[in-house]
Subunit: 345 residues, 2 copies
C-alpha cells in the first residue's frame, strides 16, 4: 500500500485550515459564528455576544529575538489578538496567554515578556485570566486567546459589504513591512561585522510599526461615537490586498481600490524608495500593519469625512465586475493577494 503524502505548503495556510475543518459542524445553539472571520461569535444573551479570537506566534516564524525585544513581543502578542476583536467591532475584555519556552531562557527573560503583556493589558484595558506555561525543546512559542464583547446588532463580519459601499482603511499602511526590511538589513550588517552599530536613525516610526503595532481600539470607539456601523470589517494583518480579497470573497462583491488613495506615511515612502520598492506594493503585500479595513454605506460618508484616522481607498462593486487596483495612470490591474504564507516561507 502506498501512502499518499501531500505537503503542507501545497494547500496554503487558508486552504489548509479550510481543508482540516470542513467536516466539522456546529451543534451548540450558542455558537452564532464559528470559523471564517476574525473572531468566533458566541451568543450570551438576547442582545449580547462574546467574541473569541486566538493567535499563535512562533520564534523564527513570526518573530526574531535578535531584533525583537521580549517586552515588545509580549505587547505585540496581545495587540494582534485585540486587533481581531476590534475587527468584529467589539471591545476586548480578557486574554489568556500560554507559552512554551526552552531552558535557554532565564526567568528574567520571561519577566520582560510578561512586562510587555502587562503593558498591553493596561493600554487595552483587558485582564489576563489564564494560561499555561510549559517547556519546549526549541525556542519560544506564544499562544494568546482574547475574549471581547459586542452588541449583536453591531457586530461586523467580513461578509456584509454591499455594492456601492465605500472601502475605508484606518491609519497608514506599509510601515510595518518596511520596518522589518530595515531591521533585517541591519541584522545582516551586524552579522557581517559586529563592530558596526545598527543604523536605525530616522526610521523610528516604521520600526515601531513593526515592533510595537497597536490594535485600533480607538477606531472602534470613533465609529461608535460617530454612530457608524461598518457593513464589513477585517484587520490588516496579512497585507491590504489579501484582506480586500477576504472581504470580497466573503461578501460576494468586487471592488475598485485606488493607488493614490492608499494612506502611506512620508517616512514609509522614503524607506520604500531606499529599498527601490513601490510604497503601494508594500502596503498591498506587506502585512502586519494591524490597521482596520472596513466598508461603510455611502450614507455614512459625511460622518467620517475629514477624519484623519480614516481614509476612503475605494468602493465596492458587483461581484462580476471583478477586483481591481487602479494605478496612478488610471490603469486597472486585477488584485492579487500575496500576503504571508508560513508554510512556503
Amino acid at each position: 500500500m502506498s501512502e499518499k503524502r501531500t505537503e503542507l505548503g501545497d494547500l496554503g495556510e487558508f486552504g489548509l485550515i479550510k481543508h482540516l475543518t470542513e467536516k466539522f459542524s456546529n451543534k451548540q445553539a450558542s455558537t452564532s459564528f464559528g470559523i471564517g472571520d476574525d473572531a468566533a461569535v458566541i451568543s450570551i444573551s438576547e442582545e449580547d455576544a462574546m467574541l473569541i479570537s486566538t493567535d499563535m506566534l512562533v520564534e523564527g516564524v513570526h518573530f526574531n529575538l535578535m531584533y525583537m525585544p521580549l517586552k515588545h513581543l509580549g505587547y505585540k502578542a496581545v495587540a494582534v489578538n485585540i486587533s481581531d476583536i476590534c475587527a468584529m467591532n467589539g471591545v476586548a475584555e480578557q486574554i489568556t496567554v500560554s507559552i512554551a519556552v526552552s531552558n535557554r531562557f532565564p526567568v528574567e527573560a520571561l519577566e520582560e515578556l510578561y512586562e510587555g503583556i502587562r503593558s498591553a493589558c493596561e493600554v487595552y484595558n483587558v485582564d489576563l485570566v489564564g494560561g499555561d506555561t510549559t517547556s519546549s525543546f526549541s525556542g519560544l512559542m506564544i499562544s494568546v486567546t482574547a475574549t471581547g464583547r459586542a452588541k449583536k446588532e453591531s457586530i461586523t463580519y467580513r461578509s456584509g459589504a454591499k455594492e456601492f459601499d465605500l472601502l475605508v482603511a484606518s491609519g497608514d499602511l506599509g510601515g510595518a513591512y518596511l520596518g522589518l526590511q530595515i531591521l533585517e538589513r541591519e541584522k545582516q550588517v551586524f552579522q557581517a561585522n559586529p563592530n558596526i552599530q545598527p543604523d536605525l536613525d530616522g526610521n523610528d516610526y516604521i520600526i515601531e510599526r513593526q515592533l510595537k503595532p497597536e490594535a485600533r481600539q480607538d477606531i472602534i470607539q470613533f465609529l461608535k461615537d460617530l454612530d457608524v456601523v461598518p457593513t464589513s470589517m477585517i484587520d490588516i494583518s496579512d497585507g491590504l490586498a489579501s484582506e480586500i480579497m477576504h472581504i470580497c470573497t466573503s461578501s460576494k462583491v468586487g471592488c475598485h481600490v485606488y493607488d493614490e488613495k492608499i494612506p502611506i506615511d512620508g517616512k514609509t515612502s522614503m524607506a520604500a524608495l531606499e529599498f527601490n520598492m513601490d510604497p503601494a506594493t508594500c502596503a498591498l503585500n506587506g502585512g502586519e500593519d494591524y490597521e482596520l479595513l472596513f466598508t461603510i454605506s455611502q450614507d455614512d460618508f459625511d460622518k467620517i469625512k475629514g477624519n484623519p484616522n480614516m481614509t476612503v481607498i475605494g468602493h465596492i462593486t458587483a461581484e462580476d465586475d471583478g477586483r481591481y487596483f487602479v494605478d496612478k495612470n488610471g490603469s486597472a490591474i486585477e488584485l492579487q493577494a500575496q500576503g504571508w504564507d508560513h508554510f512556503n516561507g
Copy 2:
C-alpha cells in the same frame, strides 16, 4: 553590570506562573475569577458565567508520536480542556485549536489529528469555532482553549472545601501513569530490536487511560441529577497528591486521605506489581488520569453512597491539623506533592 540569571526550573511550574503574573490586576467588571483555578470565570448575565480554560501540548514534552497516534492526540488535546471546564462544574460548549507544525508532517497526518479533534467534539458536544495554523521549526504543538457555561451559584472553585467535608474521587486512578510505563518499556524494547513486536496484551485498559483519557462530563451530569453541588473541585491531571494539596491550599484546610480507599482498577494494580511499584503511589504521583476530585458536605453523602463512579477517599480537617495520607497500617504520613514538573523533567 552582571545580569542576574534565574533558571526556569528553580521556580517550578506553578511558582513560575505565579511569579510572572503577580503584578497583574483585574480591571474588567466581567472578570469574576482569573488565574488560579481550572478555568477563568467571566460573568455574562446575572445568573450565568462563561468558563475559559487553555492548555498547550508540546511534542516531546507532553506526548511522544512514537506511540501516540495522532488521532488519539487530537482527542486527548480536547478532552483535557473539557476536563478543566468539568472541574468548575460547568458544561463545555466551544473550543479553539491552534497548531504549530513542522514541514515533516504531511497534510494526511494533520487530517488524522483533526479526525481525533472532531471525534472529541462529537463525544463532548462542543463546537470548533476558531484557531490558528502555523509552521514550526521542530515538531508539533497544540494549543486548545475551551469555553463552557455554568450557573454562577453552582460553580465549584478549589477554594470552597470546609472542615468535615468528604473528599471524593471519580473513576479509578493510577492507570494512565502505568499505561505510560508500558508504552515506554515497549518503545525501548522496539528501539533495541525493531523485529520484536510490542507486547501490549492484557494492558489495553491502562494504555487507553494514557492514550485516550476522557473528561468526566458524565460526573457533572450525575452530580446535577443528584442535586449535589460539590464545595470544591479540581481535575486530576498532575497526580492525586498534587491536586489534594491544591484544594487544601486554596481552601485553607487540612485533610486525611486513606490508602485503602483510593480507587484503583485491578489491571492497574497488576501492572504496578509488574513494575515493582505501589499502586497507591502511582495514583498519588502519576497524573493524567483526568478524573475529578471534589469535596461534598457530609449532608450529601447519602446521595452519592453506592454510586460506582464516585469513591469517598478521605475527609477535610482544619488547616492546623495538616495534610495526611493514612497507609494500610494506619500510619499517617504527611502528603507530598510530586506531580509533573516540565522544567525539571
